[in-house]
Amino acid sequence: MSASKEAPRIEIKIESTAGSIKRTFNLNQKIHAVKVSAMAELHMDTSAASKYGMFIKGKNEQLPEDKTLEELGITEGITLVISLLGAEVI
């Protein structure tokens, strides 16, 4: 019986205003899952995940959350940023 082949893993750094983490992710993980997982690890409120976007550091375009790390060409060593998409202007 052959074991199913697991997707390769890469180590990436993720930073938000709450701090930073460095850990490995499967390349087939979607951006949304990566974001929520990182937010939880950074003790951020994951119920507010939709208020935050994920970006490659220094890039303006928000990463589409339904794409995988592999589909977006995210490679080992890249730094991702979780950033607020809008203020609570009252």
């Binding site: 930073e15 205003t17 709450a18 701090g19 607020l84």
Partner: protein, 146 residues
């Protein structure tokens, strides 16, 4: 609260802000600290030619929230003419005849000004870290200059 204790709380927050190098680089912030004032050069991501300087005045920190004003980048003088005249910033200018009042939680103008009686969002330095306040301003600047 005495000045020494206030300085300790402030220094801790500034240290935390400085530690977020990737966030600073991502947004292009240039941070300078003078006394209890933090000056941050900030620009819309898609329009780096529009440069603004935010001043977070943290006197009496953490008892009082930081006061947020835009200032002249050279003289550090505050005034409505140094604010982005667009979106929520325009509303902040027209809200008050003395100083603009941006209505976002975490800043003095919100907690002691336009929402002084709003008990649902009390000021707390732990709830509103400096980096989050700056990121909220950055997000609104990015939206204002698409």
């Amino acid at each position: 609260m005495d000045t020494e204790l206030s300085q300790q709380y402030f220094d801790e927050q500034v240290k935390r802000l400085h530690s977020l190098k990737d966030i600073q680089e991502h947004h292009g912030w240039v941070i300078d600290v003078e006394g209890f004032d933090i000056f941050v050069v900030i620009h819309p991501k898609k329009h780096p030619e529009n440069i603004f300087t935010v001043r977070l005045r943290c006197n009496e920190f953490p008892k009082r929230a930081p006061s947020l004003q835009f200032v002249d980048s050279a003289t550090k003088q505050d005034g409505a003419q140094y604010w982005p005249n667009i979106g929520p910033f325009q509303a902040a200018i027209s809200r008050s005849q003395s100083q603009p009042q941006l209505c976002i939680p975490g800043i003095r103008e919100f907690h002691e000004g336009c929402h002084a009686s709003d008990a649902s969002r009390p000021w707390s330095y732990e709830r509103y870290p400096l980096a989050e306040i700056l990121e909220a301003v950055q997000a609104e600047i990015d939206k204002a200059f698409p």
